[in-house]
């Protein structure tokens, strides 16, 4: 079998981050700086990724600008022929660093914003950040990077989706990605405080659809609805081990950034194995490839070719068995788990558990 060729590598260069967002999808036990991969480790991984067929590289985190070698890594990625996106909070993006990144061939910068309302934005981020983000956006725009604003939506900001889209346009974004929060890591811990109501979701969908028309030709808008309110699960990156891989700060290779939550799987390390071996041979990447692992109702369901049974990480997080149907799917009795979560009592904003190693509950 010739096998699948991956298109995208997400490099989580560090878990360190100046922000403390309560929906962070990083694991609860954040990795500290001492154990991160070295510059040469990452360069080797990028070279191996290109040889394996990867075209798109996400330089992510945590906050990737906290890596002093970011410029060197971005330049190496470009020399290998990868198309790179810097996924940043914007904090620490000085003009000098942005210029060096541009010279090295970085093409695309994605800056997160938390809300159009500065006070709420800073309450979510847990730190003063709005002015830094505005300054970073101006630099990105001036230097001519492709520029995306990304926003995680949840109960406290979903009603301002229209103002958030307008803010992205004012900041000069070419694209805005609006995604409702997913419940992994810190997000699952804070689920009751983050979950929007059905009415909020419906209203936001209408506002987003109007904005897509309004901004056509000027700014691309993608809007990802919350899967808990959908009838069928999301097709995670085209299926497990199909197109996508993630490398954690310590070098663990994952088929999905939430996969460390699946504690029944062991993931291999890019310091001990080549990326090619991990992609093609390792147990973790083969565990849910294809459909032979599926149970009913997935096994005999025609939708299995569309959504591959949904998200393995969500199946494990909510049912304890990663081979179960994603409980978002209304064709499984497990759906009651998601329906119960939708009934969870609302809690106040101050009930967030903020993402920070020193407040980690584990």
């Amino acid at each position: 079998m010739p096998g699948d060729i991956p298109t995208t590598l997400l490099a989580e260069l560090t878990h360190r981050c100046p922000l403390h967002c309560p929906y962070c999808s990083n694991p609860l036990d954040l990795i500290r700086a001492e154990s991160e991969l070295t510059t040469n480790d990452w360069k080797r991984v990028f070279t191996q990724a290109r040889s394996l067929g990867v075209l798109q590289l996400g330089l992510s985190g945590g906050e990737p600008l906290l890596r002093k070698d970011l410029e060197e890594l971005a330049a190496h990625a470009r020399s290998e022929g990868l198309y790179s996106t810097l996924v940043t909070s914007g904090l620490g993006l000085t003009r000098a660093r942005a210029e060096r990144l541009k010279e090295g061939g970085l093409e695309h910068v994605q800056i997160s914003i938390q809300d159009s309302d500065p006070q709420v934005a800073e309450r979510i981020a847990g730190v003063r950040s709005v002015r830094h983000k505005q300054a970073a956006a101006a630099i990105v725009r001036e230097l001519g990077f492709a520029f995306t604003i990304n926003v995680v939506l949840h109960r406290a900001n979903l009603d301002r989706i229209g103002a958030i889209i307008d803010l992205a346009a004012d900041l000069g974004a070419d694209r805005i990605e609006l995604a409702n929060t997913q419940y992994y890591g810190w997000g699952l811990l804070n689920r009751a405080a983050l979950m929007p109501t059905r009415e909020q979701v419906e209203r936001s969908r209408e506002v987003a659809e109007r904005a897509i028309q309004q901004y056509r030709g000027r700014m691309q808008i993608t809007y990802v609805l919350p899967d808990y309110y959908e009838a069928y699960p999301k097709a995670c990156y085209g299926g497990w081990g199909k197109l996508y891989l993630v490398i954690t700060p310590t070098g663990m290779a994952l088929p999905c950034h939430g996969a460390t939550g699946i504690t029944t799987l062991q993931f291999d390390d890019v310091r001990s194995h080549s990326l090619e071996w991990i992609w093609q041979e390792s147990h973790a990447f083969q565990a849910f490839r294809g459909d032979s692992w599926m149970k009913e109702p997935c096994r005999s369901c025609p939708r299995k070719a569309l959504d591959f049974g949904g998200c393995r990480c969500q199946a494990f997080a909510l049912t304890g068995d990663a081979a179960n149907t994603d409980p978002v799917c209304t064709l499984t009795p497990l759906r009651r788990i998601v329906d119960d979560a939708l009934m969870e009592p609302s809690e106040q904003l101050q009930d967030y558990s903020y993402r920070h190693p020193d407040t980690s509950p584990v």
Partner: protein, 96 residues
């Protein structure tokens, strides 16, 4: 609400240009040309790449049709305009 001219609609006089954020390159792994853009890629065949290489802001759709019809020795106008329209709808090329 303001409306801007829809850059996704092409005529024979339009001058299509690849979106500035795209990069056209050959992928030695897949042995074919690819068009890369923020967080996405399109795998191309040689004809697709030949069309997109001419989307550099110096040729109209009509001129691209003529150049490629001559190169391939047959009338490729339907294929070329359909392909360009598809890429314009995906906003990977913009009409000038």
């Amino acid at each position: 609400m303001t409306t801007t001219p829809d850059s996704r609609l092409l005529t024979l006089d339009s001058i299509p240009k690849l979106w500035r954020m795209t990069r056209l390159q050959f992928d030695p792994v897949r042995q074919r040309p690819v068009l890369l853009y923020p967080e996405g890629s399109v795998l191309l065949n040689d004809t697709g790449a030949a069309i997109l290489e001419l989307c550099n802001g110096s040729h109209s759709v009509g001129q691209i049709v003529n150049i490629l019809s001559e190169r391939y020795g047959s009338d490729v106008s339907a294929d070329v305009t359909e392909y360009l329209q598809l890429m314009a709808e995906r906003e990977l090329i913009r009409a000038g």
